[in-house]
């Protein structure tokens, strides 16, 4: 504690002298200005040093948990509900007396669903807040952007919802409780080929890590099954006009269109434009567009859409309690129940891990690799040797404005 303060003050003085010297060398006139500035700088530095001292003392009675989620932008559609689920779990743990008599203290960072801001958020949590554990990121892009930082600093990162296949290999300290899209894409293409009995598929996907991961898996597996990809179109995250992509898809006359948006707004717009173009093919998507609040608000536009999401029993005791609490606190149905349940479980697993092994990332890492048949809100949770969960999928369909199961037997991921 004393050490860091001294270091901080040293850097401040160094900056101070640098500025003074620069001023004297360059121009006599500016000496006064430089002096004034440096006084302010010094004042700010000592203030900062004091601040950090206070902060350390204040938080001695708690374990810091970093949380990375998109809190603004389109990604906030799932970032905010997941943040809320984490908050519910942390409040519950703290209300029961915390862990080892200490409270869990969440530190939220807005990672904005992209690698750049994910990296910055991780950087801040690791080097400023000195956290040993981060829950997040929520999107694949921000998780992949953050993983080089967390790996290098041996900070545990556990995502409730990042599904890109690339995350499996993102590092030893990277975990998740959402299944990899390596399986989701296979489930979607199997369903399209076998159950829907389609042979000509088109894909429209967003240019992001998450969507491209799904696109690749779907396309490879559909071709392997004996189908044909007749059109494969992408769009950039900023685009709002997809008419020419849609025109290209229409010209290719597919039986099924696999749609992979990164976030609901673009997906709804895309489906709207597909409908306006008069395309009648069956639409299949991943999980983003079958968020329950999304379907409630846009039921008409999304009617008939088939979505694939991780299998999740909303009536399990822990899940039901969480969802009821969410509804009570926010007055809306939980939009992404599976991911929210995952986020909730991470907090409880962390609390248990810290209680047993202490607030140490190496020990917590080993704790997470050993998670097997944990009875969580997501259901039975087992973590494999890559830090991925072993989970099942369910195929859902929007019917009369609500999400209902489209298929009786869920696919096994492994």
């Amino acid at each position: 504690m004393v050490k860091t303060d001294a270091k901080l003050l040293n850097t401040c003085y160094f900056e101070y002298y640098k500025i003074i010297n620069l001023g004297v060398d360059k121009m006599k006139k500016s000496i006064l200005a430089v002096l004034v500035i440096s006084i302010f700088l010094l004042a700010a530095c000592s203030q900062q040093a004091q601040d950090s001292k206070e902060q350390v003392q204040e938080t001695q009675g708690s374990y810091k948990i970093g949380v990375m989620a998109p809190l603004t932008g389109d990604g906030a559609a799932y970032g905010l509900p997941i943040q809320k689920a984490i908050k519910i779990a942390i409040d519950e743990v703290n209300a029961k007396g915390g862990v080892n008599g200490k409270k869990l203290e969440p530190i939220y960072e807005d990672s904005k669903c992209n690698p750049k801001d994910g990296n910055a958020a991780a950087q801040k949590l690791v080097s400023v807040d000195n956290v040993k554990v981060i829950i997040g990121g929520v999107c694949s892009g921000e998780t992949l952007g953050a993983s080089p930082i967390t790996e290098a600093n041996k900070v545990l990162m556990i995502s409730p919802s990042a599904t890109s296949p690339d995350i499996t290999k993102a590092g030893d300290f990277v975990f998740r409780v959402a299944p990899s899209d390596a399986y989701a894409g296979v489930v979607a293409s199997d369903y399209a080929f076998n159950e829907l009995n389609t042979r000509k598929a088109a894909i429209i996907s967003e240019n992001t890590d998450y969507a491209q991961g799904l696109r690749r898996v779907f396309s490879e597996n559909f071709v392997k099954l004996g189908g044909e990809i007749v059109a494969d179109e992408t769009y950039n995250p900023e685009d709002t006009d997809f008419r020419t992509q849609v025109t290209k898809v229409k010209a290719a006359a597919p039986n099924v269109i696999y749609i992979v948006p990164q976030s609901p707004p673009k997906g709804i717009l895309l489906i709207k434009q597909i409908g306006e173009a008069g395309i009648k093919a069956q639409l299949v998507t991943a999980e983003v567009l079958i968020g329950r609040n999304i379907v409630a608000e846009n039921g008409e536009a999304l009617e008939g859409l088939i979505g694939i999401e991780q299998k999740f029993d909303e009536k399990g005791p822990k899940a039901a309690a969480l969802l009821a609490k969410y509804k009570q606190q926010t007055n809306e149905e939980a939009p992404f129940p599976g991911y929210m349940a995952g986020a909730y479980d991470i907090v409880y697993l962390l609390a248990d891990g810290i209680a047993k092994n202490g607030y140490d990332s190496e020990a917590l890492k080993n704790y997470f690799y050993a998670v097997a048949d944990y009875n969580g809100a997501v259901g039975k949770l087992t973590i494999d040797q890559n830090g991925d969960p072993i989970m099942e999928y369910s195929v859902q369909q929007v019917k009369n404005g609500v999400v209902v199961p489209a298929q009786a037997t869920p696919h096994k991921t492994e």
Binding site: Y235, R243, T244, T247, A251
Partner: protein, 294 residues
């Protein structure tokens, strides 16, 4: 399907996109013409217009027409407030166009954050019974016909106002030489106010149509004004009707371009056009070559 069969649909797609760009470009270009600075806050006015239409229409449940008129009034008030609070004090201090440009970008970013805090980040849809017409060689919706029609109508209205009305003459006089115009008795501040009012009407109409067509989200103005700016440059930034032609050109070239290129390259196409114009025809299609002193 061969290219010739799909060409009508691509042209229609391009016209729709282009008409939206044109609507964004026209107000931007008008302010540039009279006040000589890059008015990126037009994107903010469009967002405000779209969101106030949404608020009046879905919360107060008044009809399309009433909501439209109210949102135009809100947009005008917003623009005049911005002018009064920011641009006028800056003009009084003889701020350079670069300062005004920075102020306009700041206002644009501020507005999108302001809308975010008021309405939240999720996209809003305005319920609108949109009919699609299938003409065999292409399909188009009622709203899209409206969008194209309003950009064409605005083209002629703007051209007429600038060319034949007293206000238009005064605007052109200020644009041409502010000092001489003042000598003959034109009050520039008054003309500036009228310019902002007309630009805001254009902005509100653009915002509402865009919101109906592409949903509403806080950053809509930021994204569309960039394309509006490119359109204005290509059409000729000193020619207000030219900016509308510029918008249609960009829209059509983009949409035909991505038939041949992967669709992710759409923005590359429009920015390449911008670069080519800046290098070889900086005055745009319709603009007059600017002298150094202007």
């Amino acid at each position: 399907m061969p290219f010739t069969d799909i060409l009508p649909q691509l042209l229609v797609n391009g016209l729709i996109a282009g008409a939206i760009y044109a609507l964004a470009a026209s107000g931007f270009s008008l302010v540039y013409y009279v006040l000589k600075f890059q008015y990126f806050s037009q994107g903010a006015i469009m967002t405000i217009g779209a969101y106030s239409f949404f608020a009046f229409f879905t919360f107060l449940k008044i009809g399309y027409v009433a909501a439209g008129i109210l949102s135009i009034i809100i947009s005008i008030l917003a623009a005049l407030t911005i002018n009064w609070l920011v641009y006028r004090p800056l003009r009084k201090r003889k701020a350079t166009p670069v300062i005004l440009l920075i102020a306009s970008i700041v206002l644009l970013i501020f507005s999108s954050s302001f809308i975010l805090s008021l309405f939240g980040s999720s996209a809003k849809t305005i319920p609108f019974a949109n009919k699609a017409y299938d003409f065999g060689i292409f399909t188009i919706t009622l709203l899209q016909i409206w969008i194209i029609a309003s950009s064409i109508i605005l083209f002629f209205v703007l051209w007429f106002v600038l060319k034949f009305t007293r206000l238009g003459k005064a605007m052109r006089a200020i644009a041409d030489n502010k000092d001489v115009a003042q000598i003959v008795g034109i009050n520039p501040e008054k003309i500036y106010t009228f310019t902002f009012i007309i630009a805001s009407v254009l902005g509100a109409v653009a915002g509402v149509l865009l919101g109906l067509e592409q949903n509403l989200y806080p950053r809509m103005g930021v994204l569309i004004i960039v394309k509006g700016f490119i359109s204005a440059v290509v059409g000729g930034i000193t020619s207000v009707p030219g900016s509308i032609i510029g918008g249609l050109t960009i829209g059509i070239v983009e949409n035909i371009g991505i038939w041949f290129l992967p669709s992710g390259y759409k923005d590359v196409i429009s920015f390449t056009i911008l670069l080519v114009f800046l290098l070889f025809r900086p005055q745009g299609i319709f603009g007059k070559r600017l002298r150094d002193d202007s």
